[in-house]
Symmetry: C2
Subunit: 234 residues, 2 copies
DNA sequence: AGCGCTTGTCTACGTTGTAGACTTTACTCG
DNA sequence: CGAGTAAAGTCTACAACGTAGACAAGCGCT
């Protein structure tokens, strides 16, 4: 009966591939956090010996890099958009959404580059940088100015995302705001303002806050750069 | 001969204390990175059994929190400064310097809050927030607006620090810029702009870049808020 | 059928965090 | 001074981790 190929009590062992491995890794991280992503656990999740994973990633760190890459690859960037400010805005919102969808990956996005020199990063994680430089170049910025804009922009963007993810809610069921944020534990004399802000903290609207910051930053950058060109140029 | 108390080939075992433990932990992290901070290693460094550390920190995570706290406690904030923008600028530069002095701690600063609800964080890490709120309140901001300013400000600040630390140099001895940043490894067709920017990347002036961004952001925030007050208020 | 490369498995080692029972130290009180 | 107690430090042990290295199974060739 059991034909030799598609048989099996084990879930029909198909050949592994890097994509399959990384996809499962991301799934695991999303579901249970970074610590759950161990070689043994991932192997088990794939129905394979943990050691088989080393055919698709040099080591655990490389696996983590792969996961970062997988997420960043989902960030759409259109370097030919004639309206650079609108495009940067849209990228920002998309990255924010990605971060909210994969909050457990954010520490990776932020942390891994700190221990990897620019040139040695997974190419997928450098692509946004290159494409944003292209966008800004097409908008008429000099390379050095483009870099300047990129840094301020991406800096703010990452900062905002970190901020927003930090303020997450402990227990959404709780309807007393102080408790919902765990703020009741804070000594009232030392942290009066923070405690008083509980309601404001509780209904944080990340998207519009991000947008307002971007408005300020982008128009400010534009003004600064055009002023500077007027000063030095003709 | 050997008097019983101050004797000893072992380096005169004085009583431990939380401060001593944390200080040694920070020292170790600064010198050899986060991974070097294991319970066993820290114990060895202190001439004690690793298990003794558990009298001063519940577990390794709490130890890491303690290190964050230790660093953030070194950040001076003057909530009574009448010039709030100048004060925020000074805080920013001080935090930047702290980050440069303890680069290995930065991942902690950024990452630990992501897995700890606001109310459960080490108090030392919340103090900057409370104090900046006080600063802004003294400057006349409504609580909700103060929070708004804080978020944009701190977001940008953290983002900048992460950015700057990421662009660190692989090999300062190397005088070919492409090599110094490891950029030679990037495929030239896919990353033309990034490669071309090597010189600009190499002489990044983090302090002035931070300052310019802050100028834009802070004056933008001020303008936005006063405009909004003029609109709704009398 | 047989060769050779890729993929997956097995076994084994050193290292990690930490629970729990124990011993040593320091200090207080009679 | 000596007894008693609470704190500080130690010892032993365990489960889980990443991964090296030798090996087996599977596949596509001719």
């Amino acid at each position: 009966m059991n034909s030799p190929r598609p048989s099996g009590r084990p879930p029909v062992k198909a050949r592994l591939s890097r994509d399959i491995v990384l996809a499962k890794a991301l799934e695991l991280v999303d579901a249970e956090g970074l610590d759950a992503l161990t070689m043994r656990r991932l192997g088990q999740e794939l129905g394979r010996d943990p050691m088989s994973l080393y055919r698709y990633a040099e080591n655990r760190a490389a696996l983590l890099d792969g996961v970062s890459e997988l997420v960043l690859d989902q960030l759409p960037i259109h370097p030919e958009d004639p309206d650079w400010k609108a495009q940067l805005r849209s990228i920002a919102h998309n990255l924010r959404m990605l971060a909210l969808q994969h909050p457990n990956v954010v520490p990776l996005l932020v942390t891994r580059p700190l221990s990897t020199p620019l040139g040695l990063r997974p190419l997928g994680t450098l692509r946004p940088l290159e494409q944003i430089l292209a966008l800004l170049a097409a908008a008429g910025f000099q390379p050095a100015d483009a870099l300047h804009v990129y840094r301020a922009y991406y800096g703010y963007l990452y900062g905002h995302i970190l901020n927003e993810l930090q303020e997450y809610v402990v227990d959404p069921e709780e309807n007393e705001v102080l408790l919902r944020l765990g703020l009741h534990r804070l000594p009232a004399k030392e942290f009066p303002r923070l405690r008083a802000l509980a309601p404001a903290l509780a209904d944080y609207d990340g998207a519009t806050e991000l947008d307002q910051g971007l408005t300020i930053l982008l128009s400010g950058l534009e003004a600064q750069l055009s002023r500077q060109m007027a000063g030095s140029g003709a």
